[in-house]
């Protein structure tokens, strides 16, 4: 089938198999490889992207379901001149990553959290990141990064 999906502000039109998963559309069809596949079973959140501004796990969405909709990946957060998005900058400042595998998904989930709740508490951030697993950091600095990105005291 033919799908038309707005990805990172650009309209993409491609012929895909009906069974194509959104994450494969992004990685294999468009070559946007920042979005990772971790568990492939809707658990780890590494594949999180925004669909119409809301976080979703792209390993569990068909490209066909995104047809006519808007998708944002971590590549789409960076500005024209390469300047980082506030959430990206905060992950860097707070050392919110180690191996980096979970990071694209963590950042997209965080962008979605802040869109819904611009001034969360540390506890709210922890709860809202329940769908994203990190095997390295122990989460502490990830929570700090989201707090910094929200313009609040990082404390803790």
């Amino acid at each position: 089938m033919k799908v038309t999906i707005e990805v990172n502000g650009r309209s993409t039109v491609e012929e895909v198999e009906d069974r194509t998963l959104l994450v494969h559309y992004l990685r294999d069809t468009l070559g946007l490889t920042a979005t990772n596949v971790g568990c492939d079973t809707t658990s780890c959140g590494a594949c999180t992207v925004l669909l119409d501004g809301e976080s979703v796990k792209s390993c569990t969405v068909l490209a066909a379901q995104a047809d006519g909709h808007r998708v944002t990946t971590v590549e789409g957060l960076t500005g024209e001149g390469g300047e980082l998005h506030p959430v990206q900058r905060a992950f860097s400042n707070q050392h919110g990553l180690q191996c980096g595998f979970c990071t694209p998904g963590m950042i997209m989930a965080s962008v979605s959290i802040l869109a819904e709740n611009p001034k969360p508490t540390r506890q709210e951030v922890r709860e809202a990141l329940e769908g994203n697993l990190c095997r390295c950091t122990g989460y502490h600095n990830i929570v700090s990064a989201v707090m910094e990105a929200s313009g609040q005291e990082v404390d803790g």
């Binding site: 079973t41 809707t42 959140g45 669909l51």
Partner: protein, 276 residues
């Protein structure tokens, strides 16, 4: 993991969806949020030949009151329901339970109709709907019919829906001022309940204590007969047949059912109405 090949169809009206189901018969399956169906297809535990996507039916995404009844469109997503002011006010148990499912990403996709039609005994909304004395409205080629929640869940993953019927609406009596509580015991926050309990007034729904969601009828009878919550909760495991698995034996689940029912009844009795 990639599903077996299928062809994707999109329905833009309920009639069109019913027509496509009739056309494809056993080979066709509805796709709503896809958060039960797609994982099963990726594991190749399900391999429908045709998927009929009903997510575009935006007119089935609503919550409204109809006299003393709250009506919920079947395509409403958990995230919509958890934040819906009308639902929070008039059916706070359901608004709360919708916010306890999975994680934010799952709640942005999963629908109440999909959860009920999937009929997993480990799922949260089916038991909450039982405790709420809900009614499911199905539409098929012959028009609409209403199915009480108590007659909807027949067997594991099996409901009273006909293959060419679509769930369009869920209705519950208004819960204003009725005490409620929801207790869900999980190993990790995004897991399904090992055991869960939904209480509304003196109605008690149990998650994962049989092959289908069930009412704790012995508890309800005891409460009606004047027992206090602690006495009634002792009966929560009577007549249940929970799964017996290495990480949670049947006896352990029966113990959990008693403890969680006790907590839920106490909480429901003291809960400020409409508080979330």
């Amino acid at each position: 993991m990639i599903p077996v090949g299928f062809s994707y169809r999109r329905a833009s009206t309920v009639d069109e969806a019913v027509g496509l189901l009739g056309e494809y018969g056993d080979e066709g399956k509805l796709l709503a949020g896809g958060h039960s169906l797609l994982p099963l297809m990726k594991l190749r535990l399900a391999a429908p030949e045709v998927l009929v996507d009903i997510a575009p039916l935006a007119d089935l995404r609503y919550v409204r009151t109809d006299g003393d009844t709250v009506a919920i469109g079947a395509l409403s997503r958990y995230h919509d329901l958890h934040h819906d002011e009308v639902l929070r006010q008039h059916a706070p148990l359901l608004a709360h339970v919708a916010g306890a499912i999975g994680d934010p990403q799952v709640r942005h996709r999963g629908t109440i109709g999909g959860s009920l039609a999937h009929a997993d005994a480990a799922a949260d909304l089916p038991a909450a709907l039982l405790a709420s004395d809900g009614v499911l409205v199905a539409q098929g080629p012959g028009g609409r019919r209403e199915i009480p929640a108590g007659e909807f869940f027949l067997d594991p993953f099996t409901t009273a829906l006909q293959p060419d019927e679509l769930l369009v609406e869920i209705r519950v009596p208004g819960q204003d001022g009725v005490g409620w509580a929801f207790e869900k015991f999980t190993r990790r926050s995004i897991d399904w309940a090992i055991v869960g309990v939904a209480v509304l007034g003196q109605s008690v729904g149990l998650i994962n204590m049989a092959g289908t969601p069930i009412r704790a009828t012995r508890v309800e009878e005891a409460l009606a007969g004047g027992a206090n919550p602690a006495e009634a909760a002792e009966l929560a495991a009577e007549g249940t047949s929970p799964p017996d698995e290495p990480h949670a034996s049947a006896a352990y689940r029966q113990h959990l059912a008693r403890v969680l029912t006790g907590r839920a009844l106490e909480r429901a009795a003291g809960r400020v109405p409409a508080g979330l």
